[in-house]
Amino acid sequence: MTSPAFDLPAASDGRDPFFDTAARIAAQIATPSGEAARRASYLRLDGDVLTAVAEYDETGAAFRGRYELPLFPNFERAVATAEIQVVDLSNLGNLTPVGAGVATRHQVRSCALVPVLSGERVVGVIAISARDDAGFSESEVQQLATLAQLVGLRVGHVASDRALREEAERSQGLERLKGEFLNIAAHELRSPLGIINGYVSMLLDGTLTGADQRTALERIAEKSDEMGRLITEMLETARMEALGLELTLAPTDLLDVLDAAIHTIEPLLGHHYSLATRGRRDPLPVMADRPRTQTMLLNLLDNAVKFSPGGGDVVVAWTRRAGVCHISVTDHGVGISREQQSMLFTRFGRLVTPETSHIRGTGLGLYIAREIARRHGGDITVRSEIGRGSTFTITMPLAPGALLAQTPEGVGTVTRSVARRT
């Protein structure tokens, strides 16, 4: 066997040098003495496509190619049967036009295609092409088969390594989340609970009389609502982290969901808030998970109210542009500084400033809302100025066909201003 001069460049683009070495060894194995070194490649299989991820050619020629299986029946057969194919290319009439083109261009006379298996599955092919007519001997084919087994083990090892690493990262993430939840339980849940307990004890021991009793009951109701919301957010986040957010998509009119969200929040608005809506009453057809998108909209509306303790107008506006709908919620509250905007959407990224420290919450609301938007192919962005207020804008891709059965209801701009009572 000839011993070509090997000076392969080290893989520099994040490729696995294992495959470069395997290709070099394959070329070495497959080159009969007295012949010019043959070329060898390792092609990774993804679905119907083989992609050369490593190759060795003494001449330095490279044809990092992609082979679509239906166009190369020989490759297709190797992959389908998991058996080694030795192909005579001297008669181009047996090839597809594409295959014949490649063989002619590279002056290939014969080739060996050795499938690589990881477990039962074909994950790639080692391909050796010869420009000579010496063919492939039984022992060469045997050795190539052994090499293919080693490559298969490596592929399996890398995959399970990656799976393990991902699993470890995921469980670390869950571990962190658990810590954060314990922290919330310690503070955010205990503080309303402490107030409930305190008022109950004063109701029981007769400290409170008359109007104070009524106030105490109102406080208790408020605080138990607050605890309920915190728990819902925690569960929602835990589910999202553990299972991913699984959406049940259906044709949905986002405007309809928005109406429902506004309807839910309206009774909770104090008398010093007013809520106005601006936009054409045309449907906003999207493919969406209705309950999730309602949660997303409610979280933004809830925040707008929560972070404008002084009251004022909350404006909900929507438009559609270039296949995307935009829904914005604007408040005239405390606002958010530029530095703080970056941490706004992170888990537990609740902003504690002297103006907002008394506002309780897990800091999960915006995180959840943005996750929901993103998993619908959309996003949420913010524009804000300290002391002036904030505008949160949801973008969601429209699905024009989704609501074909529906016809636009009223067309025109409707502005609705509703003052609320407590």
Binding site: G194, M202, R219, T353, H358, R360
Partner: protein, 144 residues
């Protein structure tokens, strides 16, 4: 330490209404504690962050301070340190009233000179009055 005990002695000779400063950022909690303490005959002033707490300790000269730990601007530990460092306020008895009850926090609070460390969830409003009463009654003077 003996200075502190003497100072308490001085303050215990006063016959006026006992004035309690609540340093507490949770308005609902502050309101609730205030209701109870007022019902039990104490004068109550409330500060909703650490800075205001220090200013009020100086200006109002309370007889007793309930101090939350997680506070905007200056946290409870720093408030306590600064109260202790200032001769004007060093002798005011301080009890920490926190949502957190971890042993390290408790230890740190007591080391900094808090008289007691109460966890809100385990503390009824009436316990606040009882504690003020116990500390301000002569027999409760700690033997140092």
């Amino acid at each position: 330490m003996s200075d502190t005990a003497n100072a308490w002695g001085d303050f215990l000779t006063l016959e006026d209404d006992v004035k309690v400063l609540l340093i507490e950022d949770d308005a609902a909690a502050a309101e609730m504690y205030r209701l109870r303490l007022v019902a039990d005959g104490y004068a109550v002033v409330v500060a909703d962050d650490g800075e205001k707490g220090l200013a009020m300790a100086e200006a109002e000269r309370p007889d007793f301070i309930y101090l939350d730990l997680r506070l905007p601007r200056i946290d409870g530990f720093e408030v306590l340190e600064r109260l202790r460092a200032d001769p004007e306020t060093a002798s005011i008895p301080v009890i920490i009233l926190s949502n957190f009850g971890e042993p390290e926090l408790r230890e740190r609070g007591l080391k900094l000179g808090a008289l007691e460390f109460l966890v809100k969830a385990d503390t009824t409003p009436s316990r606040l009055s009882e504690t003020v009463n116990r500390v301000t009654a002569p027999k409760a003077l700690p033997s140092v």
